[in-house]
Subunit: 362 residues, 2 copies
């Protein structure tokens, strides 16, 4: 994450992991979620906070989930079921269950299928917000598998040359195990930035970078933009690449791929369809042993990861990073020292616990 | 393709599809390739030219293949074989065979597996240049499957914050069938541009766009660059996103995913490993019927494609395009009217035919 999107420590309250879990689980239970599912949801959110993915942690997402449960858009007791399957695939109707809770169950199905036939690929229709996509992809790691996850989101991103949003931020996550190095974990929106970053930008009073947004007519704005311009003036997010010349048709095309695999392929619908549930998910697990020797693979991954980390840096940079490395470094610090939360978020949590009659440990 | 990368018609020789095939097939045969494989190779190259993917057609690639066969880097009679497989996966050792010829055979294996168990995913190690990735992905379409293809290439692209190239241009292709609309066909390098575009830029005397390259120290150059600066001054390609602020860590991360799935997972090696074969490929087929009803899927794809095409355009643009649409439009014109080749390419073909004792029909 760019440095300006981190909570400055002088505005932060430090929250310990266990206190956070102990507060979040009963909040989900108050929403009608079972204890087991509440613990699952809390884990997905807390791991995001621990890994520095503040956009998808408790701090940035819990209030929208609480509001979704309270407003009836999210079903706390979904009767999720597999509606079609083959030895390597399944399609799940998640019955409006939160993706944060259903996607791990789908990933378990994918892992089981990969163990049996090499690959498991599962789509999830009729879904709600996924949480951090890489959480689900990373579930494959301990099984010596490569995990992937994608989600088709409601529209907020313009197509190249377009003036109206028809695509979501549609992230792609891929997790790959190594031997001694932290795993490779890629997780990124196919837009210039995750939509959730705008909430953080507003909270922190920072600007959106040049090339992240288009004005209300669809012209890419190649200077800094106040995130409030989205609501005030109808500014929209651009696909990765920002402009056609810089390659935005590639970010746009990748976003389309996600909308198809995680949306159309569920049979329920894609991100922009009005009147239909607007989140579809996709998880997959690939057994490494189905392709090559697992030990050799992990050794080669270490060699490959070290090649990236040891690549000569450009002027002004002290090192080259590889996906999953910054998150692993942040996680080590936050597990030991706690997670910095913006005071405004802590206030919301305390208020919410008070309203729900839940003990607030943060 | 940006307009400046098209051959201007006043510098072009128009070549008919059948004349091109009739010239290319015997050239491959002269390299020692079997008739059947030569026809396969010619089809992959000619389809690229027909679809306007000039970077990967006869005009831009054949001379490098001829040189590779003549120099012994490409094996004209490879003893390719499956070295490991499961019901949904296979790993192929391609014995230095040209990817243009081996990847379609691998895709046939993937399609067969997808028919049986839902998904087929095949890696190809010890390979040579792939040709147009979307050709192989599109093979899935007539089977009512989604096709994907990726290739791990020799290094030419910097990682974000880096000063030395450790990744190839590592393209991703995805093809999805529709009912009445042309299929969705995405095919793009994960770098700002395909490396082959530099050859075209030099031939046409046009500049590389701002944000496509970094200088010899690794600083992204945010102004136009002469493509000759790559050899003259050690300029390098940037990952999609160009700079960290614009999101180059996403293009870099996606390139890593390709290098892992199409490189490390083959067991043979990734793009940058010195002394190892430097091309690995990945193809996969997903049976739509394994997830949802095929007819409903195709109807929804038409609806989705029309939503994209009918999205309101931004000022200065007359329409929004969707991946596969420009290529389908160019293909319709070129099948009828022929393919514009740069005169310099036609001269090379005539010279080469003369040297090889092959009748030149172009």
């Amino acid at each position: 994450m760019l440095p300006q999107f981190r909570v400055p420590l002088d505005e932060a309250t430090i929250v310990q992991e266990n206190d956070l879990r102990g507060t979040v689980v009963p909040i989900f239970e108050k929403m009608g979620v079972s204890r087991e599912d509440a613990e699952m949801a809390a884990d997905v959110l807390v791991v995001a906070d621990l890994r520095g993915v503040d956009t998808h942690g408790v701090s940035n997402m819990l209030r929208s989930y609480v509001s979704g449960y309270q407003g009836g858009q999210i079903n706390p007791r979904p009767n999720w079921r597999i509606v079609r399957e083959t030895p390597s695939t399944a399609n799940i109707d998640s019955d409006r269950g939160l993706g944060v809770i259903i996607a791990p169950k789908a990933m378990e199905v994918a892992i089981q299928k990969a163990r049996q036939v090499g690959i498991g690929m599962v789509t999830i229709g009729n879904g709600r917000h996924l949480g951090m996509a890489s959480y689900h992809a990373m579930m494959a790691l301990e099984h010596d598998m490569i995990g992937t996850c994608m989600t088709s989101c409601p529209p907020s991103v313009l197509p190249t040359f377009g003036a109206e949003p028809v695509l979501g931020t549609n992230p792609i996550a891929v997790a790959v195990p190594a031997r001694n190095e932290p795993p490779f974990v890629f997780d990124a929106a196919t837009s210039t930035v995750a939509a959730n970053k705008m909430g953080i930008a507003r909270r922190l009073g920072v600007m959106m970078e040049a090339g992240w947004m288009a004005d209300s007519e669809g012209n890419p704005v190649m200077e800094e933009v106040d995130p409030a311009m989205r609501e005030a003036e109808g500014y929209q997010l651009l696909p990765l690449g920002s402009t056609r010349e810089l390659g935005s048709h590639k970010g746009y095309g990748l976003s389309c791929v996600v909308d198809i695999l995680a949306g159309v392929l569920t049979g329920v619908g894609y991100g922009a369809v009005p009147g239909r549930p607007n989140f579809g998910h996709y998880v997959a697990a690939y057994s490494i042993d189905a392709f090559t020797d697992v030990d050799s693979f992990k050794d080669m991954m270490d060699e490959w990861l070290l090649m990236m980390k040891n690549a000569k840096p450009a002027p002004g940079h002290d090192r080259v990073l590889v996906a999953g490395q910054p998150e692993a470094e942040v996680e080590a610090v936050r597990r030991a020292d706690g997670i910095p939360f913006h005071s405004e978020v802590v206030d919301w949590m305390r208020d919410t616990c008070g309203e729900l009659g839940v003990e607030c440990l943060v």
